[in-house]
């Protein structure tokens, strides 16, 4: 079984912050920490399949959530993953008041920039864990 840190975003479909969570995680696992981290479909985690639970049980995870409902964190915990860090998109967004980030479909330039910032924070956490 892979020992890579599992980084799971909410990918929320209703707001830009869900897209920012998703794109930040994908940048992290595809580009910044490809050798140390991977993602798992949150939709698959929701199914609660036995195979999925075996994959998640006791694994180090970082969750990235776009809203206070904390869907990624809660679902990963239910699946047996160990949430080492809960990254909240809003924590970084608050540092960029007045900027327009885009829509749930596509990020504007500021959205891309802040998403990269979030990805860098995730990468830092991964390097602390591994």
């Amino acid at each position: 079984m892979s020992k890579k840190v599992k980084v799971i975003p909410c990918s929320g479909i209703g707001k830009v912050y869900g897209l920012m969570a998703r794109e930040a995680v994908l940048k992290t696992v595809h580009e910044l920490c490809a050798d140390k981290a991977e993602t798992v479909c949150l939709g698959y985690i929701v199914t609660g399949d036995k195979e999925l639970k075996e994959k998640m049980e006791g694994q180090n995870c970082i969750t990235v959530d776009g809203c206070p409902k904390m869907c990624a964190s809660k679902n990963v915990s239910i699946a047996g993953g160990i949430v080492k860090e809960e990254v909240k998109v809003m924590d970084t967004v608050k540092e960029h008041k007045g900027k327009k980030f885009g829509s749930p479909t596509r990020l504007d330039a500021d959205g891309e920039a802040v998403t990269s910032e979030i990805a860098a924070k995730i990468a830092k956490k991964i390097n602390e864990i591994v």
Partner: protein
């Protein structure tokens, strides 16, 4: 046109292209093709949310849009919310090899051919909407209250 909205639930899977296409095709229907006739909810909210969120598929006639044949949106919705009215398996339309492409997942990596796939799936969602009985919901209030408001 019926006042009852149709719920579209995307798997939004993060591991492969099919998930990205499910998310963007669903957004295209919500924003461009049928904005007044559709609503959505985040799939993981069925577990992270409350009774109101879990009532979604009981309130709205619902279409699940899945990026691969694991059918997580379909199975997750039926397990935690209610029976769905239609299901789209993207891998059956764009091919399994495309759907399970793990290299092209980020929005910025999408090429014109991928946007054509998104358009095709969005059209399939609209087609599926035509076969859904709008009377299949509990209460046509237009929100996800679970019939409480």
């Amino acid at each position: 046109m019926s006042d009852v909205k149709i719920g579209i639930i995307s798997c939004s899977g993060e591991e492969c292209l099919g998930g990205t296409i499910s998310r963007l095709a669903t957004r295209k229907v919500l924003e461009e093709l049928r904005p007044k006739e559709t609503v959505t909810i985040c799939l993981p909210l069925f577990l992270a949310g409350g009774e109101e969120e879990r009532g979604f598929a009981k309130v709205f006639p619902t279409i699940a849009v899945d990026g691969c044949d694991k059918l997580c949106a379909k199975r997750g919705t039926e397990k935690h919310s209610g029976k769905i009215n239609a299901s789209i398996d993207i891998s059956k339309i764009i091919g399994t090899e495309n759907a399970l492409n793990k290299k092209v997942v980020r929005n910025q990596d999408l090429k014109p051919e991928h946007f054509r796939m998104i358009d095709k799936i969005a059209d399939e969602i609209v087609k599926a909407m035509k076969g859904v009985d709008p009377g299949a919901s509990v209460k046509p209030c237009g929100c996800c209250c679970g019939g409480k408001c």
